[in-house]
């Protein structure tokens, strides 16, 4: 290939800049969040006393599995220790997905990491919730044009609460936790149920990104 041809080729490529509106519209294929009101755990009308008490216990005892991706992992120690003290809400770190209730995803997810996160999420026991942290999980954030990070987490996992910010400060994290507590008390935090109901849709999206799909059928190992 001679040099002139290469220069022509390069000039066609737009390496820097904002995508045009048409390009973005083409990319917004079937972007409808699946879990808005469909994932209710229990209806208000049929809410029993037992369920009320259980929800009370659930919301005040959140075992958090912090999946420390990206820069958000540094906000978690600040949130948990003396200054902001998330333990007063009953939050507590869980070491393994078996014991955890909340999966806290703290930043961008590369496709390589997404595979591990999905496995972690599927090993958790119901009822389980996902808190997505930072603008990277909402729309890609500053990694919107990266070749290796996903842009919107809720196409691959059901997200109960988003915490916006880059990075969100510990106050915002606590705000998100309180929001999740409210959802749990009302019986609206049904991400796990939603995931089961729409598993085909989620699997389709996941397999689009994760090319070498070698997941186990069940997690009894």
């Amino acid at each position: 290939m001679d040099n002139n041809k290469n220069i022509e080729q390069v000039s066609k490529i737009k390496t820097i800049g904002i995508p045009t509106q048409e390009e973005i519209k083409q990319a917004q294929i079937d972007f409808s969040p699946r879990c808005t009101s469909a994932g209710r755990v229990n209806d208000k009308e049929t809410q029993k006393m037992v369920e009320y008490i259980m929800n009370f216990a659930r919301k005040h005892s959140l075992f958090v599995l912090a999946y420390g991706t990206g820069c958000g992992a540094i906000e978690i120690p600040a949130t948990m220790t003396s200054r902001y003290d998330a333990e007063r809400f009953g939050m507590r770190g869980a070491a393994t997905p078996r014991q955890a209730d909340v999966l806290l995803i703290t930043g961008y997810l590369s496709t390589k990491t997404l595979k591990r996160v999905i496995r972690v999420y599927e090993q958790m026991q119901d009822p389980k919730y996902v808190i997505a942290f930072g603008s990277c999980t909402i729309n890609g954030g500053m990694y919107f044009d990266s070749y290796n990070t996903i842009n919107a987490l809720d196409r691959y996992l059901p997200v109960d609460v988003y915490i916006a910010g880059c990075m969100p400060r510990p106050e915002s994290v606590i705000n998100g936790i309180v929001k999740l507590q409210g959802l749990i008390q009302n019986g609206n935090a049904g991400g796990g149920k939603c995931y089961k109901d729409n598993l085909d849709w989620y699997r389709e999206n996941q397999q689009k990104v994760i090319k070498n799909w070698d997941f186990p059928d069940d997690y009894n190992w």
Binding site: T81, G90, G93, T96, Q125
Partner: protein, 320 residues
């Protein structure tokens, strides 16, 4: 006939008391640690909420027969051990079963729960669990030696192996065993740091290293049952130490329900004060490695244990 009914009723009440106090002390521990770190901390009843939530979780995994049995085994071990501890001296409900030589029986029974845990963790197949079990057994070898030395010193000094006898001796002489054989108390306290498995001896369930060790594959109801067993075991260890060294509780002249109430208050106070020793050590300590922990237990606690035996033989009159 009436006696048996009282015993059965007393067993239920004792189990309830052990569960409540154990869980409450766990919550108090978290609160104390939080206050020491200048935090607000969780409420005192946080452990009850945790338990309720864990019991409300679903389980869709199975790790074989021993995986199911491990928490049950721990509860069985805890309850059996509890039944042989005289919680209040001479009380109709809280004295429970006493027999000759129950101290030796207890020493073996307290390892039984760990054994169930080890088997369950082994069947789950998680490498972290297996590592945690091997660490736990190493630590057991570490702290059992000073602990056994301390208990043996008491047995030698007072020529008995019955816990109720120790209580009677302290009530008759009016002097607690902590003053009669201080070296045994020191050895037992140092060993109890390892028994409670808080920092610096939390090498078994180190969350950042081993992903909570033997519990790694247990969640939900299994974890809740294990928490209950752990709380009861904490109560057992505390009451045993109070019975053996700090004069026990319930030795008062009041009659009926008032005597029981005063005795319970005394028990709570003594156990709480003793419980604060490992908790305060845990607040200011990082984590030991396994060989460091064993080296610690085999150095000073063992030295004090041997000293306690020499002291016991001296008091006993063997050297005369």
């Amino acid at each position: 006939m009436e006696g048996i009914l009282f015993k059965i009723f007393g067993a239920f009440i004792t189990a309830l008391l052990a569960f409540t106090v154990g869980m409450l002390f766990g919550g108090l521990r978290r609160k104390v640690i939080a206050r020491a770190q200048n935090r607000v901390g969780p409420p005192v009843y946080q452990n009850f909420l945790d338990l309720l939530k864990l019991q409300s979780k679903t389980t869709n995994i199975a790790h074989g027969f021993m995986g199911h049995m491990a928490p049950v085994w721990i509860i069985i071990a805890a309850m059996t051990t509890l039944m042989f501890i005289p919680v209040l001296q001479g009380d109709l409900w809280f004295e429970n079963l006493t027999m000759k030589g129950d101290l030796i029986f207890l020493l073996y029974m307290m390892v039984f729960g760990n054994l169930g845990m080890a088997l369950g963790a082994g069947q789950s197949g998680n490498p972290n669990s297996v590592l945690g079990v091997s660490r736990g057994l190493s630590q057991l070898v570490g702290f059992e030696i000073p602990y056994f030395l301390a208990i043996t010193a008491l047995m030698l000094q007072f020529q008995t192996t019955t816990i109720a006898e120790f209580l009677n001796i302290q009530a008759e002489t009016g002097v607690w065993i902590v003053l009669q054989n201080p070296f045994a108390f020191i050895a037992a306290v140092l060993a109890s740091l390892g028994m409670f498995m808080y920092a610096p001896f939390n090498i078994v369930g180190a969350p950042a290293e081993l992903a909570s060790g033997p519990r790694a594959e247990f969640g939900g109801k299994y974890l809740g049952t294990m928490m209950t067993g752990g709380a009861v075991f904490a109560f057992i260890k505390l009451v045993l130490m109070v019975d053996l060294f700090l004069g026990g509780a319930g030795n008062n002249n009041l009659e009926g329900i008032a005597g029981t109430a005063v005795g319970l208050l005394e028990l709570l106070l003594k156990t709480f004060l003793f419980y604060m020793i490992p908790v305060f050590v845990a607040i200011v300590s990082p984590r030991y490695r396994t060989e460091q922990a064993i080296r610690f237990f085999w150095k000073w606690p063992t030295f004090f244990g041997i000293l306690a035996i020499v002291w016991a033989l001296y008091k006993n009159g063997t050297f005369n």
